[in-house]
């Protein structure tokens, strides 16, 4: 019986080790990447933010109705020209795939800036620096300045556009912020 007990201990150690090795402690849920391949124009992937339902935070001074309710934006004058927003971002199938921050600010050192960080938990993060001035047709374009994990070896451009809703549906959003990414591998770009 004692020998059986010893065998049981060894078996218990082996089972615990195997369980920790083979069963993932974390399993991120994934949505399909909906990438469109354009003839002679590379690949694009479009994300969007439904306004107002995907807006998590709007941080800006002197707001009459802060979002979320109870947000206390710092009153320090140095943040007077800073607007920081948090959103959920969706893919082409309207499924939430990540979260994003957008900072728009103006100061002597940086001038006017508009920046995004797109954080897709299963894929990585993309840091995008936009042109401060929008183009004539309402677009704002920018570059991928840095990326993590899946976005790390990529370079490319991102466009931001406000698209008003024209469906007239009762539960439709007011509109959406559309973010279109056109990324290629850094090696391809260098060739």
């Amino acid at each position: 019986m004692f020998k059986t007990f010893i065998v049981g201990i060894l078996l218990g150690v082996a089972v615990a080790a195997a369980a920790l090795h083979y069963f993932p402690a974390v399993n991120q849920s994934r949505e399909q990447s909906l990438i469109i391949v354009h003839p002679n124009r590379g690949n694009t992937e479009t994300f969007h933010v439904n306004i107002p339902m995907d807006r998590v935070m709007t941080g800006a001074p002197s707001q009459k109705e802060p979002l979320p309710v109870g947000l206390e934006w710092p009153v320090d004058p140095r943040f007077a020209d800073t607007r920081a927003e948090l959103f959920k971002i969706r893919n082409g199938k309207d499924a939430v795939v990540g979260v994003a921050s957008r900072i728009a600010a103006n100061d002597v050192s940086s001038g006017e800036i508009v920046e995004w960080v797109l954080h897709l938990p299963a894929r990585g993060s993309a840091y995008v620096i936009m042109q401060a001035e929008p183009l004539e047709d309402g677009y704002r374009t920018g570059n991928l300045a840095a990326g993590t994990r899946e976005f790390s070896p990529l370079v490319g451009r991102v466009s931001e556009q406000w698209v008003a809703d024209t469906s007239g549906a009762e539960d439709a959003p007011v509109g959406r912020i559309e973010l279109t990414t056109a990324f290629v591998a850094r090696k391809v770009e260098e060739e």
Binding site: F5, L20, G59, S101, V108, I113, H119, A146
Partner: protein, 233 residues
């Protein structure tokens, strides 16, 4: 029958002994010293409170120990983001003056390996410091030491809490020395590529509310400017 019971009891003892060995394994103790502490370059530090109610906004799936703040903030309940915490906070300098707005995304990582003492979180900071510029910080955090020395003792305590003094660097990569990658976006930081380290200083933790008195520090190394002067022959 008695052999079967003996085998099962043995397996339970074996599994418990293995888990205890993992928990007490000194080989997986975390490096508490920041690699930047031996740097000759200038290091700027941003301090913040890691307590959710001290942030501007803190949100998660709404089911975790730490409750979202403010209470009416949207929760990240969708399957793709439910393992992600998002925090917006005011960052302070060493004189406790507010100098920046920081937004942090933290997602539990699939590279977590309990066997190796790695409880990994992939995180990214988006920072804007008026008058200085903007930064993006990418890092891999290992919370094993924090879990082992604070969270588990809090659960084992009869008061469901932990009090003490714990300091540790949580950044474990992706830099070769266990540092974060930092990219400058605008202002003085434009085109900057450097290293950073985030560390935590904990004094109290509650099983019910999560961190009660925990401060965070993000240190960013500023590379020395390259001198244009031609040395004397």
């Amino acid at each position: 029958m008695k052999y079967l019971i003996s085998l099962v009891v043995g397996m339970v003892v074996g599994a418990a002994a293995f888990l205890a060995l993992l928990y007490y394994n000194p080989m997986t103790s975390q490096n508490k010293l920041s690699p930047l502490s031996v740097s000759n370059n200038e290091v700027i530090t941003y301090n913040y409170s890691a307590v959710a109610t001290d942030a501007l906004v803190f949100t998660n799936d709404g089911k975790s120990t730490v409750a979202p703040y403010p209470s009416k903030v949207q929760q990240l309940w969708e399957p793709t983001v439910r393992l992600t915490d998002t925090m917006a906070t005011v960052l302070r300098d060493s004189r406790n003056q507010p100098v920046a707005i920081g937004i942090k995304f933290s997602s539990r990582s699939e590279s977590t390996r309990i066997l190796n003492g790695e409880a990994i979180i992939d995180s990214a900071w988006h920072i804007y410091a008026p008058g200085q510029g903007s930064l993006f910080v990418e890092q891999r955090e290992n919370h094993w030491g924090y879990l082992r020395e604070i969270v588990v003792p809090a659960y084992r305590s009869s008061g469901d809490s932990w009090r003490g003094n714990w300091n540790g660097a949580i950044t474990s990569g992706p830099g070769a020395l266990g540092t974060a990658r930092v990219f400058g976006g605008s202002g003085e930081f434009a085109d900057l590529e450097t290293d950073g380290v985030e560390s935590l200083s904990a004094k109290a933790y509650s099983v019910k509310h999560g961190p009660v008195a925990v401060d965070g520090t993000l240190a960013v190394e500023l590379p020395a400017p390259i001198s244009d002067a031609t040395p004397d022959p």
